[in-house]
């Protein structure tokens, strides 16, 4: 089975990190902190999230082999999980991750984990690490997605001023739509592969 393209993996990871949707939470967390300090904190949190992603990337490669889970299962599972993540973005529930944020300067929790690298992102990375045989593409995709998230959050105050809260919401929903499309595509590919095994 051919691997996934670098672009498609990076886009999926970026969409799951959902930096656009996290802008509001990020700005709330960073209230009363000077811009210079903000950049520093953001950099640190991104680095922590990146480390977590790398860890799960390597973990993913071995754990599924160890458990003897077939690639078809991984593919279909990743489709289903992506779909559920996208549904959460499209139809947000009142008691999500963003509803009760702790006060004070963020350190690891809640910005690095779970807002940037949440359980769904780490699970997806594990699944993708199993599907994608090329180490380079996985690493490249993680780097690209993390850097894009970094840039988006760095520019968060300007983005919010420029697009307004409604603009951000629309953009987030659009991202959710793209994620739904990719999820269904992944799922269909899994089915296709499954049919070929007969």
């Amino acid at each position: 089975m051919s691997g996934l393209s670098l672009l498609s993996v990076s886009v999926v990871l970026f969409l799951i990190m959902d930096p656009i949707g996290n802008i509001a939470a990020y700005l709330t967390l960073m209230q009363g902190i000077t811009p210079a300090r903000r950049a520093l904190i953001l950099f640190r949190e991104i680095a922590i999230a990146f480390t977590a992603m790398l860890l799960f990337n390597y973990l993913g490669e071995y754990i599924f082999t160890l458990l003897g889970i077939s690639e078809v299962a991984v593919r279909i599972a990743s489709g289903v999980i992506l779909f559920l993540i996208a549904i959460k973005i499209l139809f947000p529930s009142a008691n999500g991750l963003r509803s009760n944020l702790p006060k004070g300067e963020p350190f690891i929790i809640p910005l690095a984990i779970p807002l940037i690298a949440g359980p769904s992102l780490l699970a997806t990375i594990m699944l993708y690490a199993r599907m994608e045989s090329s180490e380079l593409i996985m690493l490249g995709a993680i780097v690209i997605a993390t850097l894009s998230t970094f840039v988006v959050l760095l520019l968060a105050p300007y983005l919010q001023r420029f697009l307004g809260n409604n603009g951000l919401l629309a953009l987030e929903k659009l991202m959710g739509m793209i994620l739904v499309l990719m999820a269904v595509q992944r799922f269909a590919e899994g089915i296709k592969q499954f049919i070929k095994t007969f």
Partner: protein, 196 residues
């Protein structure tokens, strides 16, 4: 161009879908409803124009096939329809304003700019080299769509409050049918793609 515009208008089907849209926005105030529908129409327009110019590039880049577009539109619509049929009464009574107004999903897409419309737009822009003509046709179609949507809220004056509640569930049923139709179409496209 007129016939193109008419096709787009008919596929977007604002008249047939307006009861469903009213049912979705029924908890908001009347003046707000018009604003919401206008906003959703503009979102749908932007989406349609985006797909006219970048649709193929975008879908190819992420290796998304047409069956996935079809099926995901259906799946989203089905979730919305389920929410309309099985309304959670108890939560509605306790906090009246908890039901949020719809934003982008589901009215702009997949109800107005659904997978069917986007697929047709992409198909036409592939056949027709004159991009301006298609854009004009889309804009022309949207004059009609916006006109229908902004007058749609008046419909509820006839229906009254009880009528609206009934309407919501009936429309939920119809949306569920439409969504399953999309899923079935997507599946048949998928099965065809297996043979080729």
């Amino acid at each position: 161009m007129l016939s193109l515009a008419l096709t787009f208008f008919l596929v977007a089907n604002p008249i047939g879908n307006s009861p469903a849209m009213i049912a979705l926005v029924k908890d908001c105030e009347f003046s707000r409803q018009k604003i919401i529908l206008l906003r959703e129409a503009i979102f749908a327009l932007l989406l349609a124009l985006f797909f006219q110019y970048f649709g193929e590039f975008f879908l190819d880049g992420l290796s998304i096939k047409d069956y996935a577009v079809m099926a995901s539109g259906g799946l989203l619509l089905f979730i919305v329809a389920l929410g309309m049929i099985f309304v959670n009464r108890s939560s509605e009574d306790s906090v009246a304003s908890t039901r949020k107004e719809p934003f982008f999903v589901p009215i702009a897409t997949p109800i107005i700019s659904g997978p069917g419309l986007l697929a047709i737009i992409m198909l036409k822009s592939r056949l027709e080299n004159n991009n301006i003509k298609i854009t004009m046709a889309i804009l022309l179609a949207w004059v009609g769509v916006i006109a229908v949507l902004t007058t749609a809220p008046y419909l509820q004056k006839f229906l009254g409050k009880r009528g609206l509640v009934a309407l919501e569930q009936i429309m939920g049923l119809i949306l569920a049918l439409m969504s399953i139709d999309m899923i079935v179409n997507g599946t048949s496209l998928f099965i065809k793609s297996l043979h080729s």
